[in-house]
C-alpha cells in the first residue's frame, strides 16, 4: 500500500474517533461562559483542536437541544455571543462523563490486552 493512501485512511479514522469526543469536550469547557472564538482557542490549548466551522454550528445545535444557553454581550467593544451549559446540559455532561470513564477503562483493557 502506498504511503499516501495509508495516511488518508489513518486521517479519516482519526477524524471519526475524535468526532464523538467533541460534544463532551465542548460541554465540559462550558461550565463557565465562553464565546465561540475563546472556545476555539481553549480547545486548541487543551490539545483537542476543532475548526471554527465545525464548532459554531455545533454550539447552535447544542443550544437547540437545550443543553446550552446563550446570550449576546453587546457592552464590550465587540459584540460576542456567550454560551454556557444549561441545567439540562450539566446533567447530561455528568452522565456522559461517567460513561466516558467507563469507556476509557474498557478500551484500555481491550487495547493493552
Amino acid at each position: 500500500m502506498d504511503e499516501n493512501m495509508e495516511g488518508n485512511i489513518l486521517e479519516s479514522l482519526l477524524l471519526e474517533l475524535r468526532r464523538g469526543t467533541i460534544v463532551l469536550s465542548v460541554l465540559s469547557l462550558l461550565k463557565e461562559p465562553q464565546y465561540g472564538y475563546s472556545l476555539v482557542v481553549l480547545l486548541e490549548e487543551k490539545g483537542i483542536p476543532v475548526d471554527a466551522g465545525t464548532l459554531y454550528p455545533l454550539l447552535r445545535r447544542l443550544e437547540k437541544q437545550n443543553l446550552l444557553e446563550s446570550k449576546w454581550d453587546v457592552e464590550a467593544s465587540k459584540p460576542r455571543k456567550y454560551y454556557q451549559m444549561s441545567s439540562l446540559g450539566v446533567e447530561i455532561q455528568e452522565k456522559l462523563s461517567e460513561q466516558w470513564f467507563e469507556m476509557v477503562n474498557s478500551m484500555n483493557s481491550i487495547i493493552k490486552g
Partner: protein
Amino acid sequence: MDLIDRYVYAVIKSLPEKQREDIEKELRSLIDEMLDQYQESGSCEENVQKVLLELGDPDALADNYRGSKRYLIGPKYFEQYVLILKIVLGAVFGGVSIAFLFQSFLPKETTIPGVVIDYVTSVFYGLLQAFAWTTLAFVLAERNNMNTSKDTSIKKVWNPSHLQAVPNKKALIPVSEPIVSMIFGAIFMVLLYTAPGLFSVYISSNSGMTIIPILNLDVIQEFKAVIIFIFILGILKDALKLFFRRWTMKLAAASIVLTAISTVLAVVMLMNNNIWNADFPQQTIQHMHLTFDFAYVWEKIKSVFMVIVVLAGAIEIISTLVKGIRYDMPSLNQFIKK
C-alpha cells in the same frame, strides 16, 4: 470589507430565514476575532484571505449549520429517477417520431423545412414536458420522504415482523411489463394528442386517397385535458409497479383505484357522442359504395367498443385483485380455495 461580506452572504443565503441574522452576527464576530490574531503581520487584505481560507468552503459551512445536505432528488430515489426519466423521454421521443412518420404519409400541403421545424419543436416541447413532470413527481416524493424522516417521533420503530415474505417467483413483476406499457401508452397518447386525425379510414380510389376521420377533431381538442389525465394515471400505475416490483395488496389496491378512475373517465368521454365524427358513416357509405345500412353497423361498432373498454377495465381490476390476494394475503387465499 467586500470579501467578508461576500463570504457571509455565501454562507447564509441558503439557510432558513429565521436563523440568518443571528448566524451573520456570529460569523462576523468570529471573523473579527480571527483577524485580531493576525493583526501584527501582513496587510489587511492578506489576513482576510487567510482567515476565510481557514474557515473553508462556505457551502460546507452552511451544510454544517443546516445539519444536512440539501437535495432536490436524494440518493434514495436518484437511480429510479434516472431509470424512469430514460423510459419516459425515450417513449415521448418515439411517440412524436412515429406520429410524424404517419403524418408524412398523409397528403398535406407542407414543405420539407416546415415539417422539420415542426418535428424539432414538437420533440423539444414533448421532452421538456416529460422531463418537468417526471422531475416534479420525484421532487414531491423526496420532500415527502424528508418530512417523514425528520420527524423521528412519528417514525415507526423497525421490528422483524416488518420483513416482507420472500416473494413467490410468480408474484414478481417483470420490469419489462410496466416499461412496455409506458412506452405504448406514451405513443398512443402522443398520437391522440398531437394528431387525432390519424385515426381515420383511408380509402384509395382512382381520384386519389380519401381520408375520413373517425373522431371529431374539434371536440377531441376539448377533451385534451381528460386524455392527458388518463395518460398520467396510466404512467402512475406503471411507476408504482416499477417501484414495488412485486404484487402486494397495497400495490393492487392503488392499481385498482387508478384503473377504475381512468376507465370511468374513458367511458364518460366515449358516452359523449360528439367525439365521433358525425359524418363518418355517411361519408364511408358514399366513398366505399356500400349497399347496406352502415350507419346502423357503425352504431353497433361504437357500442361494442364501449363494452370492450368497460370489460378491459373490469378484467384488469379483477385480475389485479386476484394477484394481490394470491401473493400478499395467503390466509385469505387459503380461505377462498376452501
